[in-house]
Symmetry: C2
Subunit: 156 residues, 2 copies
């Protein structure tokens, strides 16, 4: 894949904030014509530089209960761990799955309608899993910030 120049990076930074910005809008911040801008964006969507464009829905659509779950794995078996990861990623209530360094191996952000649903999730997705040695839950009191935007001004 080709590299990204300063124009591409600027366009990506702007589209991370507003994926619906028109090429004409973007031309105010990027010194290219609307057609050149549209062409670059189209190419970046095609080649996977832009993975997806997602609407961010207000938390008011809830109510939701969010929880951070730290998981310690039983590392002796590799296959069960892969299966656990696949199942967790497939769950719509799991927004985040991170492999981390330290005493815990996996970090989850789980979002469910209420505490009953959380218990149901923990029972069905974690409790009896052979790959899970133990897990700890911390409930989220407030989401202050949650964005997928990369800090492109700082990168590289």
């Amino acid at each position: 894949m080709r590299e990204w120049d300063a124009y591409d990076r600027k366009l990506l930074a702007l589209l991370q904030e507003d994926a619906l910005a028109t090429a004409e809008d973007l031309a105010r911040d990027v010194a290219l014509s609307p057609s050149a801008i549209a062409r670059r964006i189209r190419r970046m969507r095609e080649d996977g530089t832009i993975v997806a464009d997602r609407a961010v829905v207000s938390e008011r659509i809830g109510p939701f209960l969010s929880a951070m779950v730290d998981i310690q794995l039983d590392r002796h078996a590799l296959a069960p761990v892969g299966q656990l990861l696949s199942r967790l990623e497939a769950r719509p209530e799991v927004q985040v799955v991170l492999e981390v360094a330290g005493p815990f191996d996996l970090l989850l952000l789980v979002v469910v309608p209420d505490m009953d649903a959380f218990n149901a999730f923990a029972d069905s997705a974690l409790a009896d899993d052979p790959a899970v040695r133990r897990y700890e839950t911390r409930f989220v009191k407030k989401r202050r910030k949650f964005t997928t935007a990369w800090p492109l001004d700082l990168a590289k």
Copy 2:
């Protein structure tokens, strides 16, 4: 604000996956005409049901180093905590800020170009802050899943 009916919820679920889907596309999954669909979406963008539409950029744009930072606050002063939160939220390298229950008060997901940049961040944003009692860092080995989509099929 008005409530959301089953059509709205379905549209939101679809737009969370693809914010660029056309009204005609969506009409295949929602039993409304393209004009009714376009109208509902427009209203939900205006009234704040849809907070934003963001391009998700591939991690290949990096390289990036991500870290989870658990923060324990000095709770005695409220004002410094508010200032800390404002400053953290304003930082582009901070993707996530959660207030959580338990021994730690704040949970951050920080993304930077490299370890030097992480140390610079920790020094400038955390080390000398009067609201921060202590913090612990866990580096992210791999991002398996990271989405802002709510599980709308489960909600309510």
